[in-house]
Structure formats: C-alpha cells, structure tokens
Amino acid sequence: MREVLPKLGFELVDLDNVSCCGTPIKSVNIYASLYLAARNLAIAEKLGLNNLLTICNGCHLSFSEAMHYLGKDESLRGKINSLLSEEDLKYKGSLRILHVIDLLHDMIEAETIQKSVKRKLHGLKLASQYGCHILRPSKLGRVDHPENPRKLDDLIGLLGAESLDYPEKLDCCGALLMLSHPDAALTFAGLKIKAVQDRGADGLVVSCPSCHRMFDERQKSAGATIGSKLNLPVLYFTQLLGVTMGIEPEKLGLHLNRSPVDELLEKIS
C-alpha cells in the first residue's frame, strides 16, 4: 500500500493515537465496539480529512456500521460523544469510508493502472478472495455485489492475468472462528485453498488481511487439519500490483508471506 498507492497519485496520511476498530470485541460488547470505531473516525475527522482508507474488511465494516447506527440514533450518538469528549474528540459522521478496492477500481481510471504496469501477467490464472465483510450486508452500502462480486476480478484482469471463476469464491475463510473453534476455522481455510489449488490456479489474491492470514500464514496448519498438501501462493492485491509495477518484492513485504509466493514471482519475472 505505502509503495503502490503514492505511485498512483494517492496521498496517504498516517493517523496517530488510533486504536482497534472494534470488530474483534463485538461479540463481547457491541456498545464498546461502536465506541472504538467512532473514536477512530473522530480522530480522522479532527485532522480535517474527508476519506478514511482501510486495508481491512473488518475495519471497513466496523466503521460503516458505526456511521449507520450513530447516524440513525441521536441518543446513542450523544452517549458515544460524551465518552469521546474525555479525549476532546467528537464524532460528526463526515467521513467517507473507502477500501483499497474502492480506490483502485472506482476512483482512478483503469488506464492509469494499466500504464503503471511494467510486467503484464499473461498466462497466469489467479483466484480472487474478497472477504465477507466488504460484500455484506449490502443495505449498508458495501464495496461490491454481495453474491456476485466482480471488482477484484476486474483488477486482476487489468494486470493481464485470467481471473478464475470458481464455485467456492464466496466461502468464508473462517478467521473469526479461530478464537472459539480453531479446527473448524482451519478446515474452512484448508478446503478453500484446496478447491482453488485443484482448479489449477497459480495463486490466490486476497483483499482482506484476515483472509490473508488464514490462507497465507496458516496454510500449513490448514493443510494438516484437512489432511492435504497445500501449496498455493497467496498475496494481497496491492502486493501483486506492486510486483507488476516493478517494485522490489521486499518493499512490498513479500518476504513476510508464508505461502510459496516465490513460485509465483518466478513465473512473473
């Protein structure tokens, strides 16, 4: 992100003093999770920013939900604002919440991306993984269609690769079950990786860090859980975009992926 987006003309501002978005504690206390979301929004608002970019689907949903609930319920907004006033913050609801996919698919011309691509991905077949929370619930206004998302596939296509159409595309990665049912969670992840692998994909491109963690970092344990040998390169979309732009893999954090991304990098160079 930090490497790729500035090259496409976006200015990124780091927020100081922000905290967790609230998603992970929703199960324990929804009210406190809304406070966390609203607090982060208020910090960005205080800096006079108009757009808040998230790389994570969980953050995108948390912020969208906070804006929804605080927007329709004045007394709730008042209560949350009284908590925020301890830190001299106030939630106004003036931000637009954006996901990386919004930015790259809707806010710049496809040509701008195509022009920045130095190495086209011809001959590669890549599967997409959107992640549940940027697709649903559509009533809140999400990043793409809840049942038939296309944007990430379109972006993969822009880079010259073929995006794989596969029946398991909408299957959940299981990340949020890791806390209570890790074996089931790893089975979710393992079965999906296997389905993609069996269809002959050269890799899996994700747009959510939680999915990334399940499919990349936990690929080995997922394989052990379902009793299959899994060997699928998994990377976040901006990592793939960066590679095609000719940015060094280390600058894109590709040395930190746990899945066999080198196999994919060799095919690209």
């Binding site: 003093n17 905290s19 324990v28 908590l83 619930p137």
Partner: protein, 169 residues
C-alpha cells in the same frame, strides 16, 4: 398459557428476551417465518451444526437462558450471509452477537480468548502489541526495520473512556 420445554420443564423468560432485543443491532426475530434460508447457506451449519433459524425460533419463544448457556452461539463465523439473504430482515447474525453480549453480562461460559482480546485492547489499544516477526529466510524484523511508523501507546483518558464504554453496554 405459555410454552414449556418438555425435555427440561423450562419456561420462557420474557425479561431476558427484552434484554436481547434491546441490544444494538438489526435483529428482528419476530419477523421470522422459518423459511430456513439462513441455515441453508450457513457455513457453520456444515461444520459445527449451527442452525440460525433455530436460534431465531428459540429467541422468539423466550428460551434465552438456554441459548446463552449453550456453546452453539459461539459457532458463528459472522460471514453475514444470513443477514444478506433473509427475506424478512431478521438478521440472525445480529441476534447471535446480542446473545453473546448477554452471555458475557450474565457471566455464562464464554470462550476465554474473546475476553482476553478486550483486556489487550484496554492495555495496548489493539488486540495485540506490535510484534517481531521473521521473514521466510528466518531473519528477525520489527516495525522499525520494515520502515513502518511507530504505534503509540494508549493514554489514560482512552483507558478510562473505554472502561466506561464497557460498563455502559
């Protein structure tokens, strides 16, 4: 006349049902006509036998304490398909989250890792402290080495507001 669970002789609890209905969320169990579309597409149904339509029916009938004390409410992966697909806008996933919140309040059996997340957010602002990690070549790196900005520690004012938020839920 009220329903009685013939297996346990338990009676519905209208007071607890009101507490669940009052939680923030878009759950409307009374809208449900049991079409079972939620359960048909539920990934946790396949793996862990979660049946969202049953959760809705039991909530509607008022068997809240039974749900709160059952491990089944912790099997939802929050993929949100049930909320998206429900023709009646029942939002079973929001109902499950409300039941989980109530389980915490009633000090029922809650998976400990969920509670640990909350205390870590209180201490660090996040669900974990910034960590060292290793590259695929087993070289140790941290945020500084990766050229990432420092993550600030939470101040006391945040901590006290967050604690108040936890109590106010």
């Amino acid at each position: 006349m009220t329903i009685t669970d013939l297996m346990t002789s338990k009676k519905p609890d209208a007071g607890l049902r009101l507490r669940v209905l009052g939680k923030i969320g878009e759950h409307k169990p009374y809208n449900c006509y049991q079409c079972i579309k939620c359960t048909s597409g539920c990934p946790s149904m396949k793996m862990l036998e979660l049946k969202p339509h049953e959760i809705v029916a039991l909530s509607k009938a008022g068997f809240i304490e039974e749900l709160v004390n059952s491990g089944i409410i912790w099997t939802c992966a929050t993929c949100l398909k049930c909320k998206e697909r429900c023709p009646q806008e029942v939002a079973p996933v929001d109902l499950l989250l409300a039941l989980r919140n109530l389980a915490v309040e009633m000090e029922a059996k809650v998976p400990e890792s969920y509670l640990r997340l909350v205390s870590t957010v209180l201490e660090t602002g996040f669900i974990q402290k910034p960590q060292e990690t290793v590259t695929r070549k087993l070289e140790k790196v941290n945020r500084e080495k990766l050229g990432l900005p420092k993550v600030s520690e939470p101040n006391e004012k945040f901590k006290s507001a967050f604690l108040r938020a936890l109590e106010g839920g």
